[in-house]
């Protein structure tokens, strides 16, 4: 109930400056700022609640609870934003998400690694609709911290078994005909903490070492052609300029197929944490090979067997032998909502949402189960469904309010079916760390809370 006489209506701003002309820079500047709404005033003095949603207690609250709204802002009342001016177009030269979405951030798990400079954080995939990851939310994985390289000091060297060893500047690379493609980048260790059992209670942590952006760059093939690969050349070594000097061996065939030497993501230049000014894109293959801050490509006649393809990124099996050169990321999917971070708020109509991807090509189908894999139905794949890219899927679901066990199962265009964990453990045991693409199970409890569980 409102009483018009007691509503503190602010005086109307002086509109003597000819209205609307300011848009074209012709009108006189306003000499007097309009009075600020109470909300705006609070915001400007920095006392705004840092993310209302983040203030609702734990992300993993024991069940769904919708935020209580402020009745002053609801019909029949007139909220402040309908009465007072918001900030102008000069307030945010590079925009950020609205304060209410401040919980949508990369997060890390402190106990995972010895130091934050050789560590990983996680993409909040439970907050994503669609398949494109915003640049500021793309997970990071560094081995020597984030290098910051002025573009004028950047150099890319190509040497080894080539006719013409070359050095390219950043500007050189921008002059080659570019290609643009969406691709997912998944860390080989994504879901690696889940091999022995359900460990981390959040989809950001179990599946968030992944992102998918729109790259623009030079086909690696173009640069190799410029240097002239000798017939004896069979492998390339790619090397980063950061303090970890990241190196990986890649067969020439892959290098010539679809690798990009990329300078843009989602239409803007790479973020520093993603390898600015130049990174390698190795579609469908494990993220470690996507060398950031790329400084050198060497052509050789055999692989180098460096640390990141011997000590790391080899998959130990129960018999004590290890798989090497397991480059491709197999078909995988996960339900991002409901999930531990996205509890059920009410019974009745819901939408199950998720992501699917395969390093072998396109996703052909995603099946969803709400009874722990007894029965399945195909989800809707949202267009576009692209090769070696994330694919967004959804399925309407009416929740009865009873316990439910949610799973998703991806099938790619080669006919490969995402395996259940039992099948994967039978093939590889529990110590291979990498390449866990097993079906994930969420338990939706009767109170709406969602748990990461393992089925027998």
């Amino acid at each position: 109930m409102t009483d018009k006489t007691t509503r503190g209506r602010a005086p109307a701003p002086d509109r003597s400056g000819s209205r609307g002309s300011g848009l074209h820079g012709a009108g006189p500047a306003q000499t007097e700022s309009p009075p600020l709404s109470p909300d705006r005033r609070r915001f400007l003095t920095g006392t705004a609640a840092a993310g209302i949603a983040a203030g609702t207690g734990s992300l993993f609250a024991g069940g769904g609870k919708a935020l209580a709204s402020n009745p002053d802002n609801l019909p029949p009342n007139i909220p402040d934003w309908s009465r007072y001016l918001g900030v102008g177009v000069d307030a945010n030269p590079y925009g950020s998400p609205v304060e209410f979405e401040s919980h949508v951030v990369r997060r890390s798990v402190e106990w995972l690694t010895a130091t934050s400079e050789s560590s990983v954080n996680f993409t909040p995939i439970h907050e994503m609709d669609g398949f494109v990851t915003p640049n500021g939310l793309c997970f990071e994985r560094h081995h020597g911290g984030m290098a910051v390289i002025p573009p004028e000091d950047y150099r890319l060297m190509i040497n080894g078994l080539v006719d013409r060893p070359l050095i390219f500047t950043y500007q050189d690379l921008l002059r080659f005909p570019p290609e643009s493609r969406f691709h997912f980048l998944e860390c080989a260790a994504n879901s690696g903490m889940e091999w022995r059992g359900a460990q981390l209670n959040g989809v950001q942590y179990t599946h968030g070492m992944i992102h998918c952006v729109y790259y623009t760059g030079v086909p690696l093939k173009t640069l190799l052609n410029e240097a002239g690969v000798k017939t004896s050349g069979k492998w390339i070594l790619v090397e980063g300029a950061d303090s970890s000097g990241m190196t990986r061996s890649i067969p020439l065939e892959k290098a010539l197929d679809d690798c990009l030497v990329a300078y843009s993501q989602n239409g803007e230049r790479l973020r520093a944490e993603q390898g600015y000014p130049i990174r390698l894109v190795v579609p469908g293959w494990e993220g470690n090979m996507w060398v950031k801050w790329l400084r050198r490509i060497e052509i050789g006649d055999q692989p180098w067997y460096h640390r990141e393809e011997t000590s790391k990124y080899t998959d130990l099996l129960p018999d004590g032998t290890a798989r090497k050169f397991t480059w491709t990321m197999d078909a995988k999917s996960v339900i991002t909502s409901p999930s531990p971070e996205k509890p059920m708020l009410s019974e009745g109509p819901q939408v199950i949402k998720g992501l699917a991807w395969s390093g072998h090509g396109r996703i052909q189908r995603v099946d969803v189960s709400t009874d722990g894999g007894i029965n399945w139905q195909p989800a809707r794949l949202h267009e576009p469904v692209l090769s070696k890219s994330l694919t967004f899927f959804s399925l309407p679901w009416s929740w009865s309010g009873k316990d439910a066990l949610l799973q998703s199962r991806a099938i790619d265009e080669t006919g490969y079916v995402q395996p259940q964990m039992a099948a994967l453990q039978e093939a590889r045991g529990v110590n291979s760390i990498y390449h866990n693409n097993s079906v994930q199970t969420w338990l939706v409890n009767a109170n709406g809370a969602v748990d990461n569980v393992r089925l027998g």
Partner: protein
């Protein structure tokens, strides 16, 4: 103008190394003439990689005896006096015969296939936070010391450009290339696929997930 490359045989063969090699450029596309020639000096300074056959090793030498002091000053703080690892920093020694254990200990001695990788990695990336500060002889010496901690070389054994590639690592034969697909293709079941399901584990019970208070939001 993009140039089409001969495609590999099939997507399923992607896990197999098939090398197109010489035939890759069916017709060489025109050159753009961009970039400048890399001089031998430029290449020598940046091309620091080492291969298992010793390719790339520079002239120089060192022994565990010489490496012990350097290791104590520059490596032991994180890796421990005997390579046992401090805190969560990597363990460099031991773990022999643990690869089939419930909790394998993968170290230079128990897991790494080639000594060349030790040399390469130390030279390019260690000490952590001060990479590429070790000289060539220092790198031979520290490599020798790490191998000595794993009982792979003697304390006074000199390793150099000519003999590092001959060092036999205990797990040199421990790695293999996957042949063919890991799982057969099949048409998955859609209805009545299991009799029942049983929950055998819950992450909530384990309780190692960062909560709101412990989460590190990255600006």
């Amino acid at each position: 103008m993009s140039v089409s490359v001969k495609r590999p045989l099939a997507a399923a063969a992607a896990a197999t190394i098939l090398l197109a090699g010489a035939g890759a450029f069916a017709e060489d596309p025109p050159l753009f003439g961009l970039g400048t020639p890399a001089t031998p000096e430029q290449i020598a300074a940046w091309d620091i990689d080492i291969r298992p056959d010793g390719q790339g090793l520079p002239p120089g030498s060192g022994s565990a005896e010489a490496g012990e002091t350097i290791y104590a000053e520059q490596c032991a703080f994180c890796h421990g006096d005997f390579g046992e690892g401090m805190g969560r920093y990597p363990v460099l020694m031991g773990g022999f015969d643990s690869l089939t254990a419930e909790r394998p200990e993968k170290t230079v001695g128990s897991y790494w296939p080639y000594a060349s990788t030790v040399w390469d990695y130390i030279y390019r990336a260690m000490p952590f936070g001060n990479a590429q500060s070790l000289g060539i002889d220092d790198t031979y010496a520290v490599t020798a010391y790490v191998l000595y901690l794993n009982e792979i070389v003697e304390y006074d054994q000199m390793i150099d450009q000519s003999n590092l590639a001959d060092i036999e690592m205990p797990n040199a034969g421990g790695f293999f290339l996957m042949e063919g697909p890991e799982f057969e293709r099949y048409e998955p079941c859609m209805e009545n696929c299991r009799d029942s399901v049983e929950i055998t584990g819950k992450a909530r019970v384990l309780d190692v997930t960062p909560d709101d208070g412990g989460q590190t939001a990255i600006e």
